[in-house]
């Protein structure tokens, strides 16, 4: 049996907030917000400045329950977590600041060996007096965990829940014994019942009260604290308050539009609650009290009002002082403030902060749009009103703050003009034959004159220098100007009269060259003094005199023409200390002395976009460790700058790059700009800590993002994106979206404006033979229904959007017929035809049918701003997936896979079919091979026999896995993910001895992810082969998940796998997971039929956590670990730095 070797790592962590709680967790006085993001907890502190992130805690499991509770008499809260695999844990926070520890005070698996998982999901609730925890994990059972403080064992037990179809369970306040309130459903409707638990008898003992036949869609109970007590029952359209003896119900009109999703209690006394519905309304529910003469407080009235619009909420929590956190699974989470006064649009909500969320990623494509050799990921994210496309790329983002149209910029410097200026207030912009001065006044930029400076010549260098002076260097002269009086103090020209060709300077020194003549000047008060001059053997191409420490520079760096070399010269004598030839004939264009935390480098950029860099000894001036990287294809200009006090180098080229020092290493990170020719750091009053950047025809002022991260851009659609495909020829994306229209008096009407209704042009499918009644009406009133729709009924309307790849503008929207669901899209060429087509597969969904009986394959062409339907093919079933296949098109139609060829009449004709599936949901092709992902029968590999025109089943995985995505890794390796959150690899063994073995795929690896993978694509987010790497990875496959994470899988050789496995093994011994769930258990393959140890995968998330360990712990991990650096089989003892380098290189593949 062959084992495949893969490395899997999270490139972008999950972003969907599934649960949030607020309490005093880190200390009795701290208010903390704790978020659950699938497999991770995030811990925040509420401060006067806002939310301060404290810790991100990895949980070895998918978090199903997150609750805070407090023991009676305690002054802070404990956190209770249950994972989807039933690992329960009680966590406590101890210590503070950096020494903060999350302590697992109790843990254990609360799963039962037998039991039918709860159909309404895992429900968990904690008694308000913290006597017990109640869990509904399985149908018909209620698990009680008694919270006895003094026992070393918390003995959980099940009690029977006879009520069917339980919707929600909570503990009631103020009961002598723990008492739950539950909503259940039977044949006659939904009912609410309170049940008291006897901890002694381990059973329900009585029913204090019940209310039969509450609203038929009641789904949520909110227990109300004392003195009111009782419970609020939230229905579809009504709210009921019941305290066991009396009740009160209201049916606010505002509730009718949607369904309440979640609530947050505002007051500890329980009079106010925030509620959120599916379409993003935030409501407040207010229990108005009345104190009766007998002293008992009762609820007099229920008030319910809309406060405003928020992201579609999954959970809400009240923080402090009117600030509320909205956790969202379908859109961005938000921090909002509630205001007592409504704003102009009548909303009481103001948005403070949004937290980007990619979830759920339904589909994605990897495209190198800028042709920079680096992929960008475009995801179909969010749903309903939160639907969006997200463009994700690795690298540093520049946030543009201002932009001017200016072309032909040859140089750029910022100055502080005027003696007192603290901020830069002037930009010197040099053109070919002139220089412009841009005065920065607030956010305004105005062109001005600068006395003492000359305008009619190109500026080579300009700067503020010592003694409150400024310098302008032109071809003719070096000019010294007083910075307050702006009077020219001194002018220096080359003794030979030759024009200055290259110059560099700092606060007190200038070095300039005229051809091969080199001069070194020192700046004094009111004058220059020429300290040295020298004739170089070749013309000087570039110069630098940046000081490596504080004070004056001790070295000059120079790059020469002809012999193409980099030199280090001494100051002041200009003696050559080191000469380093750079192989090749490309001239150096820019040279720079840079120091990062006392590590000095000489960098030299050549005319072809490559960069040499050397380690520089700051005392002797000698160079060592020559390295070369390719940054771009054009001449590169290097500039030193500091952003957020981090020393960095900006390489201006056609692929702008920021070079910085991180974790004892130089890191190269690309910038999200197409081309930058020059830059200078700018610290102006209105633009603090900014950069001025010159591109082809504009000057941009912007700030630089935090370094090295994924850069995410959002294109809101306002409707649900389902599938995406890229078409290079038309420079567009084809996006399948779904919006919800509502039937009203004028027919079907979109409920709100969204991408498909606001497109520049619109069309719709109007005729389709016999399958469905033809319709001709426009998109807003939609096609006539094939069966009458009820008034107020929601209808899903599917569209094909054509989206511009640069502007992300929706160029065209095509609406499909009523009841026609677009299922998939593919862009490809067909037959001899050189036109690229968008091909969409659809299904006609009729509510009574168990599965669609009809669908279409529709072929569109987008050209010259028009979308044209070229052909269509009726098919017998839903076309779930499409794949271009050597000029033909493959389609998965219900249980069949069909191959269509494109005839010269531009029609699709079936060539061959494969019938052995339940539902053929996914298709991937490579060469003649086709991988089919089935609804419940895992994966099958087919081969297309072109001679016979038939499919042949080559191999099949016989495990009954319910698939969510598939991909072909290479000719023999196939990747699949299932709906139990596992990923697995199958291999085919063509050389096996028997037919039986050959046609059976081998199980070659598996790992539990704890997340549903919806899409897998080949592609990489980072530029490949940047510098030397120590990690031998092959290929890069990305996957997107339900919780909004992006992961990466790469193949690694067996020896490297063994090495990483050992490192992983050592890390599991050192890292003590929160919740004490064993790493091997966490990653083991798990579904309702079996559990098997993980195999064939390295858990990259664990490997990368090596870098977060303290150095001492790193040493413990590495101690005794052998590496084979040359790959010769000669192993040697690994050093901490060796492992750091390897793990760092692994972090750079994503």
């Amino acid at each position: 049996m062959s084992t495949a070797h893969h490395y899997i790592v999270t490139a972008h962590k999950p972003t969907a907030v599934t649960s949030c709680v607020t309490g005093n967790f880190t200390s009795p006085l701290d208010i903390n917000l704790i978020l659950a993001k699938n497999t991770r907890l995030e811990l925040y502190l509420v401060t006067p400045e806002g939310l301060r992130p404290l810790k991100e805690i990895a949980i070895y499991g998918k978090i199903a329950i997150l609750k805070l509770f407090r023991h009676v008499g305690a002054d802070k809260d404990l956190l209770f977590v249950v994972t989807a695999r039933y690992n329960a844990m009680i966590l406590e926070c101890r210590g503070e600041g950096d020494s903060l520890e999350i302590v697992t005070v109790a843990h254990g698996n609360v799963g039962d060996r037998i039991g039918k998982p709860s159909e309404t999901g895992i429900i968990g609730t904690i008694d308000p007096e913290a006597r017990v925890i109640g869990l509904k994990l399985y149908e018909g059972l209620f698990k009680i965990i008694p919270l006895e403080k003094d026992n070393s064992e918390l003995r959980a037990y099940n009690i029977r829940l006879e009520e069917p179809q339980i919707q929600d369970i909570e503990f009631l306040y103020g009961c002598p014994n723990p008492t739950i309130i539950l909503i259940f459903e039977d044949a006659s409707g939904r009912h609410v019942k309170a049940r008291e638990i006897s901890l002694k008898d381990k059973d329900f003992v009585k029913v204090p009260w019940k209310q039969e036949n509450v609203e038929s869609h009641s789904s949520m109970v909110i227990p109300v604290p004392q003195p009111l007590g009782g419970v609020i029952v939230i229905g579809q359209e009504s709210i009921l308050y019941h305290n066991g003896s009396t009740f009160l119900a209201v049916a606010p009109g505002a509730m009718k539009q949607s369904t309440i999703m979640c609530y947050a209690r505002v007051d500890p006394t329980g009079s106010r609650y925030l509620l959120g519905d599916l379409i993003g309304h935030l409501f407040m529910l207010f229990l108005e009290r009345e104190e009766r003469p007998d002293g008992i407080t009762i609820v007099k009235d229920i008030k319910f009002e809309v406060l405003g619009v928020i992201s579609t909420p999954e959970c809400i929590t009240y923080l402090d002082n009117g600030v509320v956190f909205i956790g969202s699974r379908l859109g961005d989470s938000q921090l909002i403030r509630l205001n007592t006064e409504a704003n102009d649009s009548g909303s009481y909500v103001s948005l403070m902060e949004t937290f980007t969320n990619l979830a759920p990623i339904m589909d994605m494509v990897v495209v190198d749009m800028d042709k920079q050799g680096q992929g960008q990921l475009i995801t179909c994210s969010g749903a309903y009103k939160e639907g969006s496309l997200r463009i994700i790329r690795n690298g540093i983002g520049i946030q543009e703050h201002a932009s001017l149209d200016l072309s032909g910029i040859k140089g750029l410097w910022a100055l502080k003009v005027g003696g007192e200026a603290i901020y830069d207030n002037m930009l010197v912009v040099s053109g070919i034959g002139d220089t412009r001065f841009l005065y920065l006044c607030g956010e305004e930029v105005e062109e001005t004159e600068l006395p003492g400076f000359i305008q009619d010549s190109q500026t080579l260098w300009s700067s503020n220098v010592c003694h409150s002076q400024m310098v302008q260097v032109t071809v003719k002269a070096v000019r010294l100007v007083d910075s307050s009086s702006k009077i020219l103090l001194c002018e220096w020209k080359t003794p030979s009269g030759k024009g200055i060709s290259v110059v560099a300077g700092n606060n007190s020194q200038i070095v300039c060259a005229a051809g091969s003549e080199l001069y070194y000047l020192e700046i004094e008060k009111g004058s220059f003094s020429l300290q040295a001059e020298k004739i170089m053997e070749n013309e000087v191409a570039c110069l630098d005199i940046t000081p490596l420490g504080s004070g004056k520079a001790h070295f000059v760096a120079a790059g020469l023409w002809t012999d193409v070399s980099a030199l280090i010269l001494s100051v002041p004598r200009l003696d050559v200390i080191t000469k380093e030839p750079m192989k090749g004939e490309i001239i150096p264009r820019s040279i720079l002395l840079a120091s990062f935390d006392d590590n000095c480098y000489l960098m030299c950029a050549l005319g072809d976009g490559s960069l040499f860099y050397f380690t520089l000894n700051p005392v002797s001036g000698t160079l060592s460790d020559t390295k070369k990287v390719t940054l771009g294809t054009q001449p590169t200009v290097l500039k030193f700058f500091k952003s957020q006090s981090t020393a960095s180098v900006f390489a201006c080229s056609d692929r702008p790059t920021v070079i910085y020092w991180s974790n004892h290493k130089l890191v190269f990170s690309n910038v999200n700009l197409r081309e930058v020719s020059h830059m200078c750091p700018l610290n102006a009053m209105a633009f603090p800590d900014s950069l001025a950047l010159a591109t082809d025809n504009s000057l941009t002022i912007g700030t630089i993002d935090e370094i090295q991260k994924l850069h995410i851009r959002t294109v809101p659609l306002g409707e649900t994106p389902k599938r995406i495909s890229y078409q290079e020829t038309s420079q567009t994306f084809g996006v399948i979206t779904m919006r919800v229209d509502m039937m009203d008096t004028s027919g079907l009407t979109p409920t709100k404006p969204s991408a498909s209704t606001q497109a520049a042009s619109v069309s719709c499918s109007s005729s389709v033979g016999t399958l469905i009644r033809p319709s001709t009406s426009g998109p807003s009133s939609a096609s006539l229904p094939s069966q009458p729709l009820e008034y107020g009924q929601d209808v899903e309307v599917h569209n094909l959007l054509i989206v511009d790849q640069h502007t992300f503008e929706v160029l065209h929207s095509h609406q499909f017929m009523q009841n026609e669901y677009a299922m998939c899209i593919e862009s490809c060429k067909l037959g001899e035809d050189q036109t690229p087509y968008y091909i969409v597969g659809t299904a006609f969904v009729v509510p009574d049918e168990t599965e669609p009986k009809a669908g279409r394959i529709v072929i569109f062409q987008y050209a010259d701003g028009k979308l044209q339907q070229i052909a269509e093919k009726e098919v017998r079933g839903s076309c779930y997936c499409l794949a271009g296949f050597n000029g033909k098109i493959l389609a998965g139609i219900n249980s069949t896979v069909r191959l269509f060829e494109w005839t010269s009449e531009k029609e699709l004709r079936v060539e061959c079919s494969y019938f052995n599936s339940i539902l053929a949901l996914y298709l991937k092709c490579k060469g003649d091979f086709i991988l089919v992902g089935d609804l419940m029968r895992s994966m099958t590999l087919l081969q297309y026999k072109s001679m016979e025109g038939t499919f042949e089943e080559i191999a099949r995985d016989y495990n009954p896995n319910w698939m969510t995505a598939i991909e072909i890794v290479d000719d023999d390796t196939f990747l699949g993910t299932d709906n139990a959150f596992n990923m697995f690899v199958c291999t085919k063994d063509g050389g096996a001895a028997t037919d039986e073995e050959r046609c059976q795929m081998q199980d070659a690896g598996r790992i539990y992810l704890g997340d549903m993978v919806n899409t897998i694509r080949h592609g990489s987010l980072v530029r490949q082969h940047l510098g030397d790497t120590s990690v031998p990875t092959t290929g890069s496959i990305l996957f997107g998940t339900l919780s909004g994470s992006v992961g990466l899988i790469t193949q690694i050789p067996g020896t490297f796998f063994e090495f990483l496995l050992e490192l992983q093994e050592r890390l599991t011994k050192v890292i003590k997971p929160v919740g004490k769930v064993d790493h091997a258990y966490w990653r083991s393959f798990y579904n309702d039929r079996k559990q098997e140890p993980s195999e064939g995968f390295i858990d990259g998330d664990l490997i990368e956590s090596f870098l977060d360990l303290p150095r001492d712990t790193m040493r413990d991990v590495v101690n005794g670990l052998q590496i084979d650096p040359q790959g010769t089989g000669m192993k040697q003892q690994a050093l901490v730095d060796d492992i750091i380098k390897i793990v760092e290189d692994l972090t750079r593949i994503h």
Partner: protein
């Protein structure tokens, strides 16, 4: 469909939110006008049901006096439009200290029915204890221990 109520009287200047309400009950909320309405009433205007509630006053009541544990919290927040937050993720917590858990959660494995029968038996034997030899009973119960994981 949005309709303003033309019959609304100008009065004491209370801000109210008026809801327009289509026949089927579909509502739009968000109109603000001025008028003096007290209590709730419904009237029919131009085929549109208009329900007027003293909303804003209620909302003011709702939103005043929101709980405040530390009055300083969020007070230094600079409100210059919503901030987008892509990167601000907390630092990873990598625990390396082995702190033993004080408690282990275990699940009792006794079948619910057996537990019930035992309980019933105990109850009965408690009631009619005099009729049977209690020492035998104790032996019986101590022979088996309840199962825990």
């Amino acid at each position: 469909m949005h309709h303003l109520n033309p019959m609304l009287k100008q009065g004491e200047g209370k801000v109210i939110i008026m809801r327009t309400c289509a026949k089927d009950g579909n509502e739009d909320v968000g109109f603000i006008t001025r008028g003096a309405i007290s209590g709730e009433r419904e009237k029919k205007v131009d085929k549109v049901y208009i329900k007027e509630v003293e909303v804003a006053i209620v909302v003011n009541d709702f939103l005043s006096g929101l709980p405040s544990k530390h009055p300083d919290n969020f007070q230094k927040w600079v409100m210059d439009g919503p901030k987008s937050n892509v990167t601000r993720r907390p630092a990873s917590y990598v625990p390396t200290k082995d702190i033993p858990a004080q408690q282990v959660i275990v699940t009792e494995k006794t079948n619910i029915l057996l537990r019930y029968l035992h309980q019933q038996f105990d109850k009965k034997s408690g009631k009619h204890g005099s009729k049977r030899d209690s020492s035998v009973l104790e032996d019986d119960t101590s022979r088996k221990r309840s199962r825990f994981e």
